[in-house]
């Protein structure tokens, strides 16, 4: 069930569009911000709030990269693997993360602390390589720096 607050927030987003379904992606983001990912029940709940069907919402949800339809850990690492970061050594960071966290791309650590996801160019190309952890952007990285940064996320 969506909380009153979430429904209120979705209604608020829906009010700016000619049709309520316009707020579909906003609603998915709102739910994901609170829960980390979007489960099947939330898909149905969003559908109900926006006058859509679960199929319609899920059709949209699965189209977009940033909407996660599988459970994630407490922190989500989005590592940029696009061209500028690749040139500047993002592969090395990916290897480092996979090694230290013991997971592959798209996986979550056993203790549920981190989920590691590959991300498209983060628009931080002049400070490559870069990654995001949750809402924070980290730039000009190397494994040494990254180790310290990871420690901030428990």
């Amino acid at each position: 069930m969506l909380t009153e607050d979430l429904i209120h927030e979705i209604d608020h987003e829906a009010a700016v569009f000619e049709q309520r379904r316009g707020a579909c992606i906003d609603a998915l983001r709102v739910v994901q911000r609170q829960r980390g990912w979007v489960d099947d029940e939330s898909i149905q709940d969003i559908a109900a709030v926006l006058g859509m069907t679960a199929d319609e919402v899920d059709s949209v949800a699965t189209f977009y990269n940033l909407i996660l339809r599988r459970p994630v850990g407490r922190h989500v690492i989005r590592i940029c693997t696009s061209v500028s970061c690749w040139i500047m050594g993002s592969e090395m960071l990916v290897e480092y993360l996979q090694r230290t966290l013991g997971i592959g791309l798209g996986e979550t650590t056993k203790d549920g602390r981190f989920t590691l996801i590959q991300n498209q160019c983060l628009g931080a190309c002049d400070h490559a390589p870069a990654l995001m952890i949750d809402d924070d952007l980290h730039r000009d990285l190397d494994p040494g720096k990254l180790e310290k940064i990871l420690a901030q996320y428990q």
Partner: protein, 422 residues
């Protein structure tokens, strides 16, 4: 130092300019001027005269695009394209985070001109700081009467909202963006009809890039001649130009259009890092063709870069040094495009994964010579005019030009059955 109307206010640390700072620096004077005495037609004429061209990549003249918007029906929409997902591109973010009121003012001017009732800023999903700054600026602008009903006592009203993308590169394509904004899957739309006549919710709409709109306050306040004078070529204005890759000083600068690649790369960016030399330049985001050292003296404007077989694109260049494997780099780019294909049309949906797998095989030393023929064919079949939108042709730009300039590298991978850079 030449004038930098887009970035002159931006602080070295990038912290946002507040409303009062913006106003103190002459901000919102253009809105006062336009709404205070210019008709939308007048504003349109000024923008046309300035020769401003879209900074989103395609370089279409902004005033001309606006002139296709019909008088009716309402509501009409202005949509700011702040999707910025093209690899190697990091210019709009600087404006969004550093000087959000500049964009708000640009939005008001554009909206006024086309008679828009509602405007949306469509931001890429990861730009959370941009979201924060834009929302703050919008709230401030509403409070000061720059937005909302009867702006500054005029007849004109405008609502402005921020929408965060669900994240897909195709959403930067203006018609896919409209679908995304309608809460749908971000497949691009058929053109014609253009958004100008049937856009958001089927209503007349204009989609403009962030940087494009940020040029408007200056143009309106100081006039088209001033704007044209900013550049070194026939294309008016300055351009945000960025450099990423292994240079000494990667970054973003506001420079006059017409500046040469050499000035940018070896001047502003400090040249290649020690021990490295320059092999390839992707001039304006991942979907533009490679140029090489021989093009260093080409002037960066829309026509001149096109003349040498590439595009100015977003103006943010990616440099390939001599220690970076061209096959690996192109494979990286095609992997991106294959993943970001919306899945609507056949050549793009099926062709890009094939190209990706072929490049991966070559890069891993598992290539065969026939693979090059496959890639050559895909460059044609996914090229301009063949696909539904410009995503796949964009992807073919680095692949096609890469096969041209670095063919020997491809062949060597296949001959030696390994990546010579590894």
């Amino acid at each position: 130092m030449s004038e930098r109307p887009l970035t002159e206010r931006i602080r070295p640390d990038g912290a946002p300019i507040t409303l009062s700072e913006y106003e103190a620096a002459g901000g919102y004077q253009a809105v006062r001027k336009a709404l205070g005495g210019m008709s939308p037609k007048d504003v349109l004429q000024v923008v046309k005269d300035s020769g401003l061209r879209g900074r989103g990549g395609a370089g279409f003249p902004t005033g001309v695009k606006w002139s296709f918007v019909p008088e009716n029906p309402h509501p009409k929409y202005l949509v700011v394209n702040g999707d910025e997902m093209e690899p190697g591109t990091f210019k709009d973010r600087v404006l969004l985070e550093g000087d959000p009121h500049l964009l708000v003012e640009g939005v008001i001017l554009a909206s006024y001109t086309i008679g828009a009732d509602v405007a949306f800023v469509f931001l890429r999903g990861e730009y959370l700081e941009s979201e924060r700054q834009m929302k703050k600026a919008i709230t401030e602008a509403y409070a000061k009467g720059y937005l909302g009903k009867n702006i500054l006592g005029s007849e004109y009203s405008l609502e402005l909202y921020v929408h965060m993308s669900g994240g897909r590169y195709i959403c930067g394509e203006e018609t896919a963006l409209l679908n995304a904004l309608e809460g749908k899957r971000g497949n691009p739309r058929t053109k014609p009809p253009f958004p100008q006549t049937s856009g958001l919710w089927g209503k007349p709409s204009i989609v403009n890039n962030v940087e494009t709109l940020c040029n408007l306050p200056g143009i309106i306040a100081k006039g088209p001649e001033w704007f044209k004078g900013l550049s070194k070529t026939a294309n008016g204005g300055t351009k945000l130009i960025g450099v990423s890759g292994k240079v000494k000083n990667p970054g973003l600068w506001e420079l006059p259009l017409g500046v040469t690649f050499r000035e940018v790369i070896f001047g502003h960016a400090g040249g290649m890092r020690d021990g490295l030399s320059l092999r390839g330049i992707i001039p304006g985001g991942a979907s533009t063709d490679y140029l090489t050292e021989e093009h260093l003296d080409v002037e960066m404007d829309y026509e001149t870069v096109a003349k040498v077989g590439s595009r100015l694109g977003t103006g943010t260049m990616i440099l390939m040094d001599n220690k970076t494997c061209p096959v690996g780099m192109i494979h990286n780019l095609i992997t991106f495009f294959a993943h970001e294909s919306c899945g609507w049309c056949t050549p793009c949906r099926e062709g890009l994964p094939w190209a990706e797998k072929t490049l991966r095989a070559i890069e891993r030393g598992e290539g065969v010579m026939e693979d090059l023929a496959v890639l050559d064919r895909l460059v044609v079949d996914l090229g301009p005019g063949m696909t539904f939108c410009a995503l796949a042709p964009g992807a073919m730009a680095p692949l096609g030009s890469g096969l041209k300039y670095f063919r020997e590298d491809f062949e060597r991978h296949i001959r030696e059955q390994r990546c010579p850079w590894k």
